[in-house]
C-alpha cells in the first residue's frame, strides 16, 4: 500500500480501488515505523470504503491494529448523503472513556497515607472480570440509566451536580432510547453498574508533575504537585452485548441493501435508515451507561478519600472532566466550504473541542475542552486542551492513549506479573491487582511512548499540552 509523506507528521494513503477518499495518518517517523508493523494502515484504507465518508479516513498517532476500524481511527460520514454508521467504528466497549478527578491534596499529604488510601480505593471500587458493581440495577432502573445517564445517578443521590456538569454532554446523551437495547444486553450489564472491569481499564492515583500551559491549567483547577485520580472504564457487558447484536443485525441488513465493505466488522447502514437509527439509539444508551458507571465510581473514590482523610478539605474530590473515546456522534463541520451534518466515528480517539464551543461548561469555554489521555500502566498520563485546529484537521478529534505495540503474548514472555509489579514498585508506583498474572500483558513496554503521541498531537494542533501526570498507585482488575 502506498504511503506518501505529505508534510511533517502527516502521511497520505492515496485513494485506490473501492476507496472513496484518501487515508490520512498523523504520526511521527518513529510512530509510523510501529504503525506499519501490523495491519493498522490497511484498516485505515478499508474505512475509506464506507459509503458517504467525507474528508479523509483518519488515524491518530496512537494508531494500532483493531478489528474493522484501526484503534485511533476517525471517520465522518455525511448524514443527508446516505452516510453510514458502523458499529465497528465505535467498538464493543461503547462509551469507554476517562474521568479525571482532582483533589485538594498535594503529594506530600500522601506521605504515610498512600497505602491506606489505595487499600480503601481498592476495597471501594469493584474490579475484575465477574463481580457485581456498586449499584446493580433492576430492569426499570436500567431503563432510566440508559435514557438519563448521570441525571439518573443524581436522582438517586449518587455523586453531585458538578460530576454531571463536567461530563461530556453534561452526562446525558440525548437521543438514547432504552427500547432499542435488548433484554439480553440489560441482563448482561445491569448488575455491573459501578465496576471497573478488567483488561486495560484502571484507576490511578496521580500527581501533577509538570505544567505546560498556565491558563488552561488554572481553568481546569490543576497545580503542580496536586493529587488526582484517573478512572478508565466503559459500558461493561452491556455495551459489549449491544455491539455484538448490532454488528450481526447490521451485517445482515447491509447485505440486503447491497452495501459492500472490505471487512465484515465494518458492517454499516445509512444513519437515516431504520437499522441505523436503532443502532444510534442503542449506542447512545450504552454511552449513557458508561458515563453513569464512571460517575458511580467517582463517588466511590470520594468515599475512599473521606475514609482516609478526616478534614473535609483533604477529602474533597471533584470531577475535572469526563470524556469518551469510543463513540459516534452527530456533529457539524465545514467540508468543502459548506457546513454539513456528519456522523463522526471515534474508535479510540478523543473529542477535542476548542475554545468557544457551546458544548463546553462555562468554566472551560474560554480555554477549550479538557482532553484526558491515559498513559500505559506505570507511565505518565496527560491533560491536554482541545483546539479549533482539530475541527479543520480531524473532525474535532485527537489521540486517546499510548496505543499498544506488542501483543499480549509477546508482552507475557518478557516478564511475569510479579516481576512487572516489582519493576513498578522500584519506580515508586504501588500496584493493587486482582489478577497479578495479567499485569505482564499490560506492562509499560507493550505500549508506544505516550509522550511522543502527545507531542505529535501538540505539534499538529489536534490538542495542546497542559499538564503531565505521574502515577503513584494503580488499581486494576
Amino acid at each position: 500500500m502506498e504511503l506518501i509523506k505529505d508534510q511533517a507528521n502527516i502521511w497520505r494513503i492515496p485513494k485506490t480501488g473501492g476507496m472513496l477518499v484518501d487515508g490520512l495518518v498523523f504520526a511521527s517517523e518513529a510512530l509510523m515505523v510501529k504503525a506499519k508493523e501490523d495491519r493498522a494502515i490497511e484498516q485505515v484504507a478499508n474505512v475509506a470504503h464506507l459509503p458517504g465518508i467525507v474528508g479523509n479516513s483518519l488515524a491518530m498517532p496512537d494508531i494500532h491494529w483493531g478489528y474493522g476500524f484501526p484503534i485511533g481511527g476517525v471517520a465522518a460520514t455525511e448524514v443527508s448523503a446516505g452516510g453510514v454508521v458502523s458499529p465497528g467504528g465505535v467498538g464493543f466497549d461503547i462509551g469507554c472513556g476517562v474521568r479525571l478527578l482532582r483533589s485538594e491534596l498535594s503529594e506530600e499529604d500522601l506521605a504515610g497515607k498512600l497505602h491506606e488510601l489505595v487499600g480503601a480505593l481498592a476495597r471501594k471500587v469493584p474490579a475484575g472480570v465477574g463481580g457485581a458493581g456498586l449499584v446493580p440495577v433492576d430492569r426499570a432502573q436500567s431503563q432510566r440509566v440508559l435514557k438519563e445517564g448521570a441525571k439518573w445517578a443524581l436522582s438517586e443521590k449518587i455523586g453531585n451536580d458538578e460530576d454531571a456538569e463536567y461530563t461530556e454532554d453534561r452526562g446525558t446523551l440525548a437521543g438514547a432510547d432504552p427500547r432499542s437495547v435488548s433484554d439480553k444486553a440489560i441482563e448482561r450489564g445491569s448488575r455491573q453498574l459501578g465496576s471497573l472491569g478488567a483488561g486495560n481499564h484502571f484507576l490511578e492515583v496521580q500527581v501533577v508533575d509538570e505544567i505546560f500551559a498556565e491558563a488552561p491549567a488554572q481553568a481546569f483547577g490543576l497545580r503542580l504537585g496536586q493529587v488526582c485520580v484517573m478512572i478508565h472504564t466503559g459500558s461493561r457487558g452491556l455495551g459489549h452485548q449491544v455491539c455484538t447484536e448490532e454488528v450481526r443485525s447490521i451485517d445482515s441488513a447491509m447485505r440486503m441493501k447491497g452495501i459492500q465493505v472490505p471487512d465484515r466488522q465494518l458492517a454499516c447502514v445509512p444513519v437515516g435508515d431504520a437499522e441505523g437509527q436503532r443502532y444510534m439509539e442503542a449506542m447512545f444508551a450504552a454511552a449513557n451507561f458508561a458515563r453513569t458507571n464512571r460517575h458511580v465510581l467517582a463517588d466511590a473514590v470520594r468515599d475512599g478519600f473521606s475514609q482516609v482523610f478526616q478534614s473535609s478539605r483533604d477529602a474533597r474530590v471533584s470531577t475535572l472532566y469526563d470524556v469518551s473515546h469510543n463513540v459516534a456522534k452527530i456533529e457539524s463541520y465545514e467540508v468543502d466550504g459548506t457546513s454539513r451534518e456528519l456522523c463522526v466515528h471515534r474508535k479510540g480517539a478523543t473529542r477535542s473541542f476548542g475554545p468557544g464551543s457551546p458544548e463546553l461548561p462555562d468554566r472551560y469555554r474560554e480555554v477549550g475542552q479538557p482532553v484526558l489521555i491515559p498513559g500505559s500502566m506505570g507511565t505518565s498520563s496527560w491533560v491536554a486542551v482541545g483546539s479549533n485546529e482539530s475541527a479543520r484537521l480531524s473532525f474535532g478529534s485527537t489521540c486517546h492513549g499510548a496505543g499498544r505495540m506488542m501483543s499480549r503474548k509477546a508482552a507475557g514472555k518478557q516478564a511475569t506479573g510479579r516481576e512487572v509489579e516489582a519493576q513498578l514498585g522500584e519506580r515508586g508506583i504501588l500496584v493493587r491487582a486482582r489478577q497479578i498474572r495479567l499485569l505482564a500483558e499490560e506492562a509499560p513496554y507493550a505500549y508506544k511512548d505516550v509522550d511522543e503521541v502527545i507531542e505529535v498531537c501538540h505539534e499538529l494542533g489536534l490538542s495542546k499540552k497542559v499538564a503531565k501526570l505521574r502515577p503513584v498507585a494503580v488499581v486494576k482488575g
Binding site: F92, G237, T244, R248, Q265, K409, R434
Partner: protein
C-alpha cells in the same frame, strides 16, 4: 476433537481451528475461545446448559455460537469446559428474511467465583474481523478474532 492455535494480534487475540467436521469445528472453537481466558482443565463440570444460535451463513453462525457462550459467561459467570453440538445446519422451512442457519448444542461447565484464576485477558466480544470458515479437502478450518 479438532486442534486450535492462538494467533497474535497487537491489541487483541485470535485463534485458528482445524477439525474433521463442522460440528467438531464449532466444539473446538468454543474450547479455543475459553482457553484464551482460563485453564479449562481446572474448570470442572457442575451443570449443563442448552444453547441455540442462528445466523445468515456459516461464519456468522460461528460468531453467534461463541457470542452466546460469552453471554452465559458474562451474565451468569458460567465457564464452559466441554461443548457438544447436537444439531447444525440449514433452518427447516425457511421463511423469507429469517436466518438461514441454526445450531443447537449444550455446554457443560461451572459458575465461577471472582477468585477463579484467569490465565489470560478477559474476552469482551467475538468480532467479524478476519473471520473465516473454509472447507478443505479433508477438513474444516476457521479463523476468529476476539476483542479483549
Amino acid at each position: 476433537m479438532g486442534t486450535f492455535k492462538i494467533l497474535d494480534h497487537t491489541a487483541d487475540v485470535g485463534f485458528s481451528v482445524k477439525a474433521a467436521s463442522l460440528t467438531d469445528l464449532f466444539e473446538t472453537a468454543a474450547q479455543a475461545m475459553f482457553s484464551v481466558e482460563y485453564d479449562l482443565s481446572t474448570v470442572g463440570f457442575e451443570r449443563e446448559i442448552p444453547l441455540e444460535a442462528e445466523a445468515d451463513d456459516i461464519e456468522g453462525l460461528l460468531v453467534s455460537w461463541l457470542s452466546e457462550l460469552l453471554f452465559l459467561h458474562d451474565a451468569d459467570g458460567f465457564v464452559g469446559g466441554d461443548f457438544i453440538v447436537v444439531e447444525l445446519g440449514d433452518t427447516p422451512m425457511r421463511r423469507t428474511g429469517a436466518p438461514a442457519m441454526k445450531i443447537r448444542g449444550t455446554v457443560r461447565g461451572r459458575t465461577i467465583g471472582d477468585w477463579f484464576e484467569q490465565t489470560g485477558p478477559q474476552i469482551k466480544a467475538v468480532t467479524m474481523h478476519g473471520l473465516e470458515v473454509v472447507k478443505k479437502r479433508f477438513r474444516y478450518e476457521a479463523t476468529v478474532y476476539l476483542d479483549v
